[in-house]
Symmetry: C2
Subunit: 362 residues, 2 copies
Amino acid sequence: MKTKTELMFFTDGIDLESGDRLDAFELMVESYGKLNESKSNAVLVCHAFSGNHFAAGKNDDGETGWWNQIIGPEKAIDTNKFFVICCNNLGGCSGSSGPKSINPKTNKAYGSSFPQVSVSDWVNSQKILMDKLNIPSWEMVLGGSLGGMQALQWSIAYPEKIKKAGIFAAAAKSSTQNIAMNEVARESIRKDKNFHDGNYIEQGVIPKNGIKTARMLGHITYLSEKHMNSRFGRKFQDDDSKVDQDVDFEVENYLRYKGEKFSEVFDANTYILMTKAMDGYDAAGKLNGLENALEGVAAELLIIGFYSDWLYPPERGKEIQIAAMNNNIKSSYVVLDGDHGHDSFLFHNDQYSQIIRKFIQS
Amino acid sequence: MKTKTELMFFTDGIDLESGDRLDAFELMVESYGKLNESKSNAVLVCHAFSGNHFAAGKNDDGETGWWNQIIGPEKAIDTNKFFVICCNNLGGCSGSSGPKSINPKTNKAYGSSFPQVSVSDWVNSQKILMDKLNIPSWEMVLGGSLGGMQALQWSIAYPEKIKKAGIFAAAAKSSTQNIAMNEVARESIRKDKNFHDGNYIEQGVIPKNGIKTARMLGHITYLSEKHMNSRFGRKFQDDDSKVDQDVDFEVENYLRYKGEKFSEVFDANTYILMTKAMDGYDAAGKLNGLENALEGVAAELLIIGFYSDWLYPPERGKEIQIAAMNNNIKSSYVVLDGDHGHDSFLFHNDQYSQIIRKFIQS
């Protein structure tokens, strides 16, 4: 699979939804496959909260991209046919401009002073990327969770630039409970003694403990209760493999391990910024209801929910489907089994992959 | 309502499930109403995780007891008829022996060295209290959540000492997800810079931030998603009433406020100890299944679940009911509406109060 990873510079900058402006910005962009001559086979994949541009293939450390089960030669998104692009979102911590970047005005890391970005800002930055690549229209924009929100927003903001949208395990807005959970995660980061109001880079420290706790909570919301019960139940952790001596249950050990690993690689300010963007998104917000918001959508929609997802449960997808139907938008909505709760959108299963394949190749 | 609050001393001590022993202990005990001559009207009320002995009536600060809607003259648990007792559980932070108490062997606060207690230990300590009061048998033992676990355990451990048990919004064991949520809360406390491995009293500090975050998470699990949606929705907090300037949504403000208040009064080691007791309880654990565990139960059971409770959902109560039915135990199971999620057990509504009243007076 032809893969290209590139840090791209955008010197015209971007006006943000908040009223702030970035005079210039960078995006870390990865692509798979080959753009055809008519530039009609481009697919934009949008990552979820903690993802990045590395969506497919295997890197030098043997790690695979977050959607490697779905993207690749002869996979659901077939890179023999499509030119697939994924970029680390603005505000991220994997190479694109974000809190870890140097603010040219101060020559210090932005830290918490990096402007708050939104789902709309991401879509607008991806539109600037699209223009730079001279891609006239996306064959499809798709993603799961926060990535699905971007696909939905693409269909609303640039109807003439997107033929199909895939909105998986997503919602047109976060629920009160979603916001509440994110707020607990943010609180654990803000109150880490190493957070220093977000200016920890200057202090030469990292608020690891806060990120760890935040991620442990996140994990619970990504997995289904049933999956956790069957995988861990009430089993006690073997003494030999405890990450800490005061661990009792296997599920405690798992969460601490996962949280610890994540805290070593993810940026705390990005955590806060990304969850704020997620909480803040409301497709219908300024447009007098979701039905009105979808009025101008021209793309064909594929909306997939998962029964075991309790973060963005199937009802959230149904709300989008109903608003689409009432606008006579060509739209297919389906709820699949999925063994992995909210995370089900990440994993191949025959039904899921086949539905994506048929839709994108239709 | 005749109310008595008393710190009671138990100089014979107690052997704990862990193998540890307390050579002596104290319980803060509150009672309502009057014990009749035949001592046949005694009711034990068991508190949930963050409750204490103050179950009913109003104190000098105008605060009401945690079950004041249910306990009182002519209320569901009628203190004109019954002598109602509630004690702060061993390991608590409202007067009973716990991590804040002085360890007589070191003349310092126990802190994290206070022995881990269990639901069985609480029941055993309440049995010692019962003996001291010369109460031959409880007319009823009841409680919600962790309090319901104690009522269940009473019926298993001392069948000849309890006529009726009320098990509300409870379970015979915590689920993997319950344990996982508690572990996140504990992690936020353990990683507070003021926690000092649980010996913060010696250091003259309190791990307030950790307790606050833990409580914020707890609150989400106590409320139903529907209740949160209808109460807070996606409304923004007024600038005038923000607890912190970086608050956006009302639900964030509410959680921060509630967490902050709780962190001022609750002990961090007790938080860890109580949640560990909750996680560790498994009525069936050593007894080869719940059905076998209930074999000797002689009490009549009243099991109530609430549709909106996602912490201990109605299915958990049904498991107890089925095990009871298969033992031919006289047992009534009902699922009520309840507007308050898991917390519904705390609030009066006509159906709920009437069911308790009829059961206890039967």
